[in-house]
């Protein structure tokens, strides 16, 4: 197996990732709709390879307050996955799930727990489609949630990508129920796992 670098990934690989993103986000949307018991639409996700500094800017600046749900992945591939959305969007989802308006600026303990569950279901749906497409066993860990500045949350996957190169692979999905919600997936398989995913999909690199 040769040296893999993100910069030299082929067009085909992006198409595959986009498709996985699409199916994963589709599953995630269905799960979300079931949980919220309302209609949720989604747009075709965008897959982008961005410089560290572009990612924060894309989410509305490094100081944009975001909710980040992060979990580790084990099994045939190892790495981690993060799902990010703006704090307002997160609050909106939680209030829908709980069927009531949330008082105050911050989420309370139940709200935080509900948000973790939302993240768990969304990332779970995404990982399921990756798993069934590749036939690889993927076991997610219990998720953890942080609400903080985008830059600070992003430093975690950025550092993991940092061991590979200077860019981050970002999948952006837009959900719509009665308002538009931008969600971002960041999948960080380690170097060996990239090869496994590509190999399982029959792509030479």
């Amino acid at each position: 197996m040769g040296e893999i670098s993100l910069e030299s990934m082929s067009e085909q690989y992006y198409d595959v990732l986009k498709e996985i993103g699409n199916i994963g986000a589709g599953n995630a949307t269905t799960a979300l709709a079931q949980m919220l018991q309302c209609k949720v639409d989604m747009k075709v996700p965008q897959v982008k390879l961005l410089d560290f500094n572009e990612v924060g800017a894309m989410m509305g600046g490094e100081e944009q307050i975001m909710a980040g749900i992060y979990l580790c992945v084990e099994g045939d591939i190892t790495g981690s996955i993060m799902f990010l959305l703006k704090k307002d969007a997160a609050k909106h989802l939680v209030s829908k799930l709980m069927g009531m308006e949330l008082p105050g600026e911050d989420l309370d303990e139940i709200g935080t727990s509900a948000l973790k569950e939302i993240g768990n279901i969304i990332t779970g749906a995404y990982l399921n489609s990756l798993s069934s497409l590749t036939n690889l066993k993927i076991f997610p860990s219990v998720p953890d949630l942080t609400i903080d500045m985008a830059g600070a949350i992003l430093s975690v996957p950025a550092i993991e990508f940092g061991t590979l190169g200077d860019k981050i692979l970002l999948i952006q999905t837009q959900f719509t129920d009665d308002c538009e919600l931008d969600g971002y997936f960041i999948l960080v398989p380690d170097l060996e796992s990239y090869g496994k995913i590509l190999g399982a999909l029959g792509i030479s690199f």
């Binding site: 924060g56 490094e62 980040g68 219990v142 600070a152 949350i153 430093s155 975690v156 950025a158 940092g162």
Partner: protein, 161 residues
């Protein structure tokens, strides 16, 4: 008119008073601010990983604590600062998620802080103050005029170290 120069992730900038340097949303990364109090030349490095020697893909010297701090000092010297007068303050190195200790990136925030301290000691630059660790993101602004290192975090009082 003074300007506030922005430093990105894996980046560094040098400035002269009355200008200042800032970096937004430090997480597990560390922001190392160095200043020469006589010339009022200051600089800020935003490093992501502790050790350039541990990683093969290490061409970006700004990314690592060891090479990043060295580069910052060199650039400050080029701007007219003297190494034997330099003093440092550091911030960041948080652990953003509680289970981040599963991979080989064990406590990367702590390791970034340790590596930064080690490198500064090696270069003979004393650390005057630090605000590191814990579990929240920080925005920092460094003023080479006074040496004030302003730290902002979500839902917390602004701190000056």
């Amino acid at each position: 008119m003074s300007e506030c120069i922005k430093v990105g992730m894996a980046d560094l900038k040098v400035c002269i008073s009355p200008d200042s340097v800032t970096t937004l949303g430090l997480g597990s990364c560390v922001g190392i601010a160095i200043r020469d109090p006589i010339t009022k030349i200051g600089g800020l490095a935003h490093v992501m990983l502790p050790d350039s020697g541990a990683i093969r893909n290490n061409t970006n010297v700004y990314k690592f604590a060891d090479t990043g701090i060295e580069e910052l000092v060199v650039q400050m010297e080029k701007a007219g600062a003297k190494r034997n007068r330099m003093v440092a303050k550091i911030a960041g190195g948080a652990q953003m998620f509680s289970f981040q200790n599963k991979t080989d990136l064990v406590r990367v925030g702590d390791r970034n802080v340790e590596a930064s301290k080690k490198k500064l000691k090696e270069l003979g630059i004393p650390i005057l103050a630090e605000d590191t660790g814990l579990n929240f993101g920080r925005t920092v602004i460094f003023y080479p005029e006074s040496g004030d290192y302003v730290i902002r975090a979500v839902g917390k009082e602004e701190r000056v170290i």
